[in-house]
Each structure stands twice: as C-alpha cells, then as structure tokens.
Amino acid sequence: MRPRLLILLVLSVVAPIVVLALVGQKIVRDEERLVREEVDGLLAARLDDVAENVEAFMAARQRLLDAATTVGNVDAAALRERAREAPFVSQLFVRAPDGSLLYPSAAGSLTENEMAFLRRTEQLWTKADSFTLPREGAGGRQAPGHGWYASYWQNGLNLIYWRREVDGRVIGAEVDRVRLLADLIAALPRSNDQGRTRLVDARGAVAHQWGRYEPRAGEVPRVERSLQAPLHAWRLQYYISPRAADASAGQSAAYGVLIAVTAVALALTAAAVFIYRESTRAIRDAMQRVTFVNQVSHELKTPLTNIRMYAELLEREVDETSPKAVRHLAIIVSESQRLSRLIGNVLAFARQRRDALTLHPAPGCVDQIIADVLAQHGPSLEQLGIAVNLDLDAKATVAVDRDALSQIIGNLVSNVEKYAASGRRVGVRTSHAGDIVTVRVRDHGPGIPAADADEVFRPFSRLQSSVTEGVSGAGIGLSLARDLARLHGGDLVLAPCDSGACLTLTLRAPQVAT
C-alpha cells in the first residue's frame, strides 16, 4: 500500500464525517432546545387553563359570599341562621365603623364556634387597617369596597371575605376551608394525561393532584405557576417524564443526522476505495507482469541449468580423440550459454523497466572479463567464421560490475554474430584513462546508417533491412547494454567508422588497490 495516498484518503473520508457529525450534533441540540421550549409553553398553557378554572371558582365563591354578607340589622340569631344556611361559611361577622365588633360581640352570649372564631381572629380586630384596600390610606371615612383577608391558623389557610358598606360597617364571612378545598377540587379539570398536575399549598403540601405520571422524590416540576389572590401562596405544578417530553423532540432530529452522516460516510468511503484502487491499478498490473516474467524465467532456468551443467560435465568426459563429439558438445554448451544470456537479458530488461536494476562494482579486470565472454562465444564465432582481433590494454584492477560488463559485451558480440557475420572479423580494443575504461567493438559487416544511430538503442527496435530480415531477436540487447553502461557511469554510442559498425562503450571504473 502507498502510505501517503492511504493517509490522504483516510483523512478525506474522516474529516468530512467529523465535521458533519459536529454540525449534526449542534442541529440536534438546537432542535431539542426549541422543542423543549415549545413543550414547556404547552405545559404552561395547560397550567394556565387550570389556574383559570381556580379563578372562576373563586369568583363564583365570592359571589356567594357577597350574597351571604348582605345583611340589614345586626341580629345575632339571624346571622347565626344565615351562616348555617351557607355551608361554605364557617362564621359571619359585623364590625362597626368605629372598629368595634357588633357581631359576634363579647357583650352578648357567644357560641363555642363564635368564641373560637374570636380567638382565631384576635389580631384582625386590633389592627386598624385590616379591612382597607391597598390603595386606601389608613383611617378616615373609606369608600365601599370588598376584599380578602388571608391568615394561617393551625397549618391551614384561613380566608375571610369582607364587604364595607356605605355606612362604614364591614360585614365579612370566614370561609369554611375544608368546604372550600373540596369544592375547589371538584371544580378542577379531570384528565388522565401522561404527566402529573399538582395543586400545592403554601407549605408545599400537595392539596390535590391528577395525571398518570408519578414524580420521583425530589423531582423538580417541569413548569409551575402561582395562583392569584387570595390563593396567591398556592402553586400549580406540572410534572412529566423526561423521556416522554424530549424523546420525540430530539429523536427524530438525531435519527435524521445519523442517517445523513452514515450515508455520507458510506459514499465517501466508497469513493476513497474506488480512487485508491484506480490509482494502484497501474502498480498492480505492473507487478503482475513482473511476477509473470520472473515466474516464467524461473521455470526456464531449471531445465536450462540441467542442459548446461550436464553438457559441461560431458565435456570433461568426452574422448578428445572424437572431434565430432567434442564439437557437438561445444555447440550444446554454447547454445545453452546463449539461452542463459537471453533469459538474463529479459530479466534485466524487466528490472530496468521497474527501475530495479542496480549495479555492484567489485574489484575486477576488464580485459579478463571481456576475454571470458569471448571465450564463451568462441564456438559460435568459430562456426560463423568470425575472427577476433584483440587489443586489450585495460589490465588494471578496477571497480567494475562483472555481470553488467559481461552482459554488455555479450550483447555486442551477439549482434556481431547475428548481423555482421559477413564481415568475417571483429575487433575488440580496450583502454584505460583515469577512471574511465573504454571498450571499442568494431565489426566489418553492413554497418548501421547514421540516421538510425538513436533508433537502434530503442527497446524492441529492429532496423528493417535485408540484413535483419529473417534474423531472430527481440530488439532489447542494445537498449539494455546502453542502460547498463549509463548505470555504470558511462555510455554506449555508435561511433562513426569507415565500414561496418563501431560501438564505443565507456564505463566509470576507478582503479582499486590490490
């Protein structure tokens, strides 16, 4: 795998998904907040409806109290009778304009209920402004009006409704709180919704509640509001399960974001995989070709090894007095060596295409290497009647890649055998100057036109002529030879000459101390 491309593709997939997820998360949170506010509004409206019911009830109760406190003369018996007829009244009272209590009066006989009333309301009679409305000043003649007086008695709310008449008398009624609460509860709406509504008194005790949901201990109500006077110390609270309240809100948005992120992630991943595969296709195809070349070469090498090895072993044993056998064997050996060189050329060419060709210079003698190569070609040169003229002057030990030089010289001599045999001779001259070794291979065949000087070095190129017609060859020998020469710090060029072809090989081969 190519690490850089892989990292880039992973980042291209992961980064947008992360950004999308973050944006999606914000969207979901905003959506949840909006829905929560909407739900709270709806629940608050629900409590407003209940509060309206309570206010309507209190207004109706006030009307009844108005009627109950409309009296003429102060007659204790009549007032007692009036109170008995009104079950929502626990006690009536009449106060004189001077503040004295006309009924129930301590001057007359009092019932137990009246005595208890006086005890409960003791403070009421001592305060000068008990029955004044907020906007009125204390003292002086006050205009007719009505109001409520709330107090607490024995852990309960005590409500007193009063009316001030034109003559200044204040007539009031203490509300029966048990009856009030019972009637109030009866007036509240009944619903079996998924939440829980509570009517909570001033102490925090639940006066009444309804709904399916059971709040946990210590749970805070989702919404609450206070009632209006005289029940302004009471509150309405609404509880609801958080899941029920928020599930639908955020869930749909969360699912939507999840689906979108998943879809984008899948699309990006598919795109990244496609891009990666396409970009590495060329590499995979090239590797397949290389593997094929190597595999085929390996399969060829095994039988070739046997042919060459046994031919050379046989050469040792053949009777030198049988020249025919010696010659036949020499041909087998020579041809197997030629086949070895061909396979070597193919492999080197394949490596060169992969930029995998490397050289390993080691101490060696250029003249000796060339002599060895010519010795290998000896039988074939002799068979073709090609004489070899040697002028070798590169005897120093230098740093040279033996295999590369052997392959170059082998390819040049093979070309002489194939295309210049008609010249009947080949000259090989070596020289050494500084770090450069020069090898000139000159044949006396038909030669190579100057116009084709570059063409002959192109891979798979074979000049079309009567010379090359019918001659086998893949056209990679000179291309490979020049590539090897250049790898070795030199070059292989076609030099001008009077007749035939002259190829000049230069190699960078520094002298090595021996």
Partner: protein, 232 residues
C-alpha cells in the same frame, strides 16, 4: 570434507553431487528443506549448498535454522531467484555466496573452492596443512592452490590429495588401486579411465609441458610416479 546438497530437482541435485565428488568431497543429498535440516543435525557437515525454492521448508528457512545452531558453517545458495533482493536476503541470512542458475560447472567449482579455502583456513585439510613442494611447484593445501613463480593454479581437494600422495612417496610407483583408495575412498569403484582423465586434466594445469610431464610421470602398466628430486 563433507558437503550437504539440498535441491528439489533431481537432475540438478545429481549433477551437483557429481561435480562435488569430482572435486574430492564427500556428499550428502536432500530433496527438500526438512530433509536437509534433519541431515545437518544428524551428520557432520562441513558446508552446504542450498536451493531456495524447495517444497516444505525453503532454503532461506533452512539457512535461518542452521544459523541459530551454527554461525560458522559455510552456506552457498544455488538458486534461480536472481532479483537483487533475493541475493540481499540470502546474504543477510548468513550465506557465504549466492550462485544464480543457470550456472557453469567452472563457476560452481570456483565458488565451492573459494568457500573450501575459508573452511580449510581454520583447520588442517585432507592433504596436510603446510606447504609442500613438488619439483618447482609449491602446493598450499589450505589454500587449494599451487604456485610456480608468479603463476597461480587452482586445485581441487582431490588434486591436493593426489599431489600429497605423490609427495609422501617420492620415487615410488603408485598403482591405480592405491591411488583410488587414498584419493577416491575405499568405497569407490575404481575406473582407470577416471584416474587417467583426472591425471591428464591435472597435468594440464601443473606441468610446464603436459605432454612431457615432470611431476606426475606415467609408469606404463604399473601406475604413476613422482621422482622427488629437488622437493621440500
């Protein structure tokens, strides 16, 4: 010296065995990596020739296992794998040399002799460790070489044994049987043609004029003799 050859191709294996035997080595043969490892553990082996692509255990794996037990035994890889990385892997695993197929017999012989020299440098060879001289030829057994002035001649183990035998018996006629027993081993089936060919090839390398030999002279109908004049 005993050489273990591990090669799955029977023909190549037999050919290598023949080359090594001609050189004077005792040989062991294995057809795959597992057999090679088993033989190495069971027998005394002086060096190994390993193919790389073998069934079961590869040559690389065999080398790795052997190196765990013995860091010094020379190993030569003989393989068709010719990529640069193949050679690097082989040498990194501790091999002493890497011969690429197809190879020439001379190339294999030269490489094996080079490895043998390194082996012999650490111990006395079959022909004795110190230099001896036959006529004007100085023989260096541990180097598997002979020198005459500036000229250097590469020798096989068997060549060294032969020359040592003649050096130890100056003036005596050595019959073929004795030469075979000493230089080829008691279990070898004697073939006078083999001996004659070997002597002929050796003369080409050590005699100034092989047609008029001075060191190894033929005693017709009897055997061979070294006159022993001027030796040390």
């Amino acid at each position: 010296m005993r050489v273990l050859v591990a090669e799955d191709d029977a023909n190549i294996r037999d050919g290598l065995i023949e080359i090594l035997a001609d050189e004077g080595y005792q040989t062991l043969a294995a057809a795959d990596g597992n057999e090679a490892l088993a033989l190495f553990e069971r027998e005394t082996v002086d060096f190994l020739c390993l193919d790389i692509m073998m069934p079961g255990m590869s040559g690389y794996d065999v080398c790795r296992e052997i190196r765990r037990k013995n860091a010094a035994v020379p190993i030569i890889f003989i393989s068709a794998k010719s990529e640069e990385i193949d050679k690097v892997i082989g040498l990194e695993l501790g091999a002493d040399d890497f011969i690429i197929k197809p190879f020439g017999v001379k190339e294999v012989v030269a490489r094996i002799r080079a490895v043998s020299r390194r082996c012999l440098a650490t111990r006395a060879p079959a022909g004795g460790g110190e230099k001896f001289t036959l006529d004007d030829l100085d023989v260096y057994p541990s180097e598997l070489r002979a020198r005459r002035g500036e000229a250097v001649v590469d020798l096989s183990l068997r060549d060294v044994r032969l020359l040592r035998l003649f050096f130890d018996n100056p003036g005596k006629v050595l019959d073929r049987g004795r030469i075979f027993n000493v230089c080829w081993g008691l279990d070898h089936v004697p073939n006078s043609r083999t001996l004659d060919q070997h002597i002929s090839q050796l003369r080409k390398r050590i005699e100034i004029d092989p047609k008029r030999p001075r060191i190894i002279r033929t005693v017709h109908g009897a055997g061979y003799r070294y006159e022993g004049i001027g030796d040390s």
